[in-house]
């Protein structure tokens, strides 16, 4: 971000700026959208290299730390002689099981300190799926004493690291799914709305047909019919495909509605009389005039996909453990036991909320910025 606000751009630059420069300038004025952009970018960086941001191996169970509550990080380290330094640490905890209720009880051992290191050594992972490394953003100095920033689940797995790992799948499900449904939706919706008549009628029947297939049975059938020996990634891709299967039809209908009403606008007729090819009329003249609507739809569709994935997981149809996604994590938290005794298991819900809100603000800002009439 620079201090150049749109108002201070001199008119010469404004006059020669390309459309996308204009959009960018307009976008920067929208502070929430900028915030959304930063958060989204950050989330996608995490999604690209989750291993670096995770603290503990997300699949590592720990028999002595089931349902461990989040640990408090102390920042000021006081030595015995009263001097102090800035050195973050945690007190390791002691495990006990209540013989009556069988619940785990953890108490901080104040006498011991476990220092937190930045860019320290941790478990081995593959950065970008290519290079093996053991460097992590945050690591525990004492490897035998893991740090649980957001506590652990029933198997003693680090919730923080699992959320980080889940970012990868959850955020890409949305992106890939939306791109798929967007392509099909705009193509078919556009053709249908632009040509009208017989073609419209035929495409509409197809759309109706797809829409009238209830999504849940399709999800159920397809996810149950996926071959067992497929790797998790392929399964995941299929789930995305399944999710976008019904998404495109809705978008196509909206696009078609827009095309129908734009078809008779003067500027379209003018372009056509000008001898512009049909492709040019559609993509150069008609599409930009409601690009804002499409962007708004996308900005809502990505988070909707993320939520759909969590819902699918809730029904036991989505991704299955040991695959880690936010939906899978939330499904594991989806019970009274978690609410009553381990509320930190709902942290993935917070991640979903943050991602969804950030994406929405981002899309919102884009929409406003792309609007040619927006002043």
């Amino acid at each position: 971000m620079t201090d150049t606000a749109l108002s201070s751009v001199d008119s010469k630059r404004l006059a020669v700026a390309s459309q996308w420069q204009l959009v960018w300038w307009a976008f920067r004025r929208h502070h929430l959208a900028m915030a959304g952009l930063v958060v989204t970018a950050f989330l996608y960086i995490i999604a690209i290299a989750p291993g670096f941001f995770a603290i503990n191996d997300p699949s590592q169970q720990n028999a002595r730390a089931a349902f461990h509550p989040p640990q408090v990080i102390h920042f000021i380290d006081r030595a015995a002689d009263g001097s102090w330094s800035f050195r973050p640490f945690i007190h390791p905890s002691v495990f006990k099981r209540d013989p009556q209720t069988l619940s785990a009880i953890y108490s901080e051992d104040k006498t011991r300190k476990n220092y937190v290191r930045f860019f320290g050594e941790g478990y081995e992972y593959k950065l970008f799926g290519l290079f093996s490394t053991t460097t992590h953003l945050i690591a525990s100095e004492n490897k035998a004493q893991p740090i649980f920033l957001l506590g652990t689940d029933r198997l003693g797995r680090c919730v923080f690291s699992r959320i980080i790992q889940g970012t990868q799948i959850s955020l890409s499900v949305g992106l890939v799914g939306v791109l798929l449904s967007l392509t099909i939706g705009i193509l078919l919706g556009g053709i249908s709305g632009y040509y009208g008549g017989r073609i419209d009628f035929a495409v509409q029947r197809v759309i109706e047909f797809v829409l009238s297939l209830p999504s849940i049975p399709i999800w159920l059938a397809l996810s149950a019919a996926l071959p067992q020996d497929w790797p998790a990634t392929l399964n995941y891709f299929m789930i995305t495909l399944i999710l976008s299967l019904t998404g495109w039809a809705q978008l196509a209908r909206v696009v078609r509605g827009r095309f129908l009403s734009l078809r008779t606008e003067e500027f379209v007729t003018a372009a056509r009389l000008d001898g512009a090819s049909e492709g040019r009329v559609i993509f150069r003249h008609m599409l930009p005039s409601f690009a804002s609507h499409i962007i708004a739809s996308i900005s809502l569709a990505i988070p909707a996909m993320i939520l759909a994935e969590t819902s699918l997981s809730f029904l036991g149809l989505g991704l299955q453990p040991p695959t880690i996604s936010w939906g899978v994590l939330l499904r594991e938290a989806q019970n009274i036991r978690s609410i009553a005794t381990a509320p930190w298991l709902f942290a993935p819900g917070v991640a979903v909320v943050v991602a969804v809100i950030a994406l929405n603000f981002l899309g919102d800002g884009l929409r406003d910025a792309a609007d040619p009439y927006n002043k």
Binding site: P214, I216, R256, V352, Y373
Partner: protein
């Protein structure tokens, strides 16, 4: 117009036939059949089905015959006698089971719809007109928050808080005493007292997207020359909004009607499950999960028919609201 409607209605018949067949195939696509899922369900409580009974059940439900035979048996019953068959699980006529739940489903869906539109439309318009004001940011933030919280999570937490902290019962749509009572003023009040929780949970997630779409559409329209013209002519700001931009901004809303109708049946399944609401959703899901063919098939057909009708209605409305659209 009339010709158009008749033509579309006639087109529904082949569509429905194709869908009915596809639905039948889809429901059977997952491995196993009703009997395997039935056995598995009982096994969850360490219960065992007599081995002789299992084979017997298959034969009784005709599951041992080829799928195409099963399909024709089912579809001919519907076409010839209007008989949707018996639910495998309940041994009750499918149509009874569905209708029994439809009334409350409609009540819930329409209340939710009213609540959602009632909240979303004015806020959407407000947020477009007062773009980038504090008010816009606040409503935007809260609508996004509502959108972002998975509804089943919200439902579960609300239930827990209400039950444990306030000792209040939240599940279901009626109190114990009115459950089987005939309809009366008291029962309606009781229903309303229970209805608001699911309606709020459902509306929370629904309003956000409507607000966003409404706001986006309004912004598109607000900058149109005709708005400036109208304003120049001295039309009051309120009239100006309602007369054209709002009307036009509703256009994409109308397109959504086509999937709103089937949502009457298949929407809100998850919330209904968590809150134990006696609506059609849980029954639909259950029938699909247990591969209760006839029940699930009837549901799918119903949803399909509603979609087809919904898209017809939305096309007609589109033409009525926006004179630029011609149907033929």
């Amino acid at each position: 117009m009339l010709r158009f409607i008749v033509k579309r209605l006639l087109w529904m018949v082949p569509s429905l036939i194709v869908v009915s067949f596809l639905a039948f195939v889809l429901i059977q696509l997952p491995p196993g059949d009703f009997v395997t899922t039935y056995i598995a369900t009982l096994a969850a409580s360490n219960e065992v089905v007599d081995q002789n009974t299992a084979a017997d059940l298959r034969a009784r439900f005709g599951l041992d015959r080829p799928m195409i035979v099963q399909y024709f048996k089912w579809i001919s019953g519907i076409v010839l006698r209007g008989d949707f068959g018996l639910s495998f699980e309940w041994q009750q006529p499918v149509s009874d089971l569905i209708w029994e739940r439809m009334a409350l489903t409609l009540v819930l869906t329409f209340s939710t719809l009213l609540a959602t539109w009632g909240i979303a439309l004015p806020i959407g318009v407000f947020s477009a007109v007062k773009k980038y004001s504090i008010g816009d940011y606040v409503v935007t933030f809260f609508s996004f928050l509502g959108l972002a919280i998975p509804s089943f999570l919200l439902a579960l937490v609300l239930m827990y808080v209400a039950a444990v902290e306030f000792g209040q019962e939240v599940g279901g749509l009626f109190s114990e005493q009115y459950l089987t009572a005939p309809w009366s003023i008291g029962k309606v009040i009781d229903l309303l007292q229970h209805l608001w929780i699911p309606v709020i949970i459902l509306a929370v997630s629904g309003t956000a997207s409507l607000i966003r779409v409404m706001r986006a559409n309004m912004l598109d329209e607000l900058n149109r020359p005709y708005v400036t013209t109208a304003r120049a002519k001295g039309l009051s700001e309120f009239h100006l909004l309602v007369k054209y931009p709002v009307r036009l901004a509703l256009n994409p809303f109308i397109s959504t009607i086509s999937w709103l109708l089937p949502n009457l049946v298949s929407g809100s399944i998850i919330v209904a499950i968590v809150l134990s609401l006696p609506t059609a959703g849980p029954l639909l899901l259950q029938s699909l999960m247990s591969q209760d063919m006839y029940l699930a098939g009837a549901f799918v057909l119903l949803i399909c028919a509603l979609t087809l009708i919904g898209s017809l209605i939305s096309d007609i409305l589109l033409a009525l609201v926006d004179p630029r659209i011609r149907l033929e």
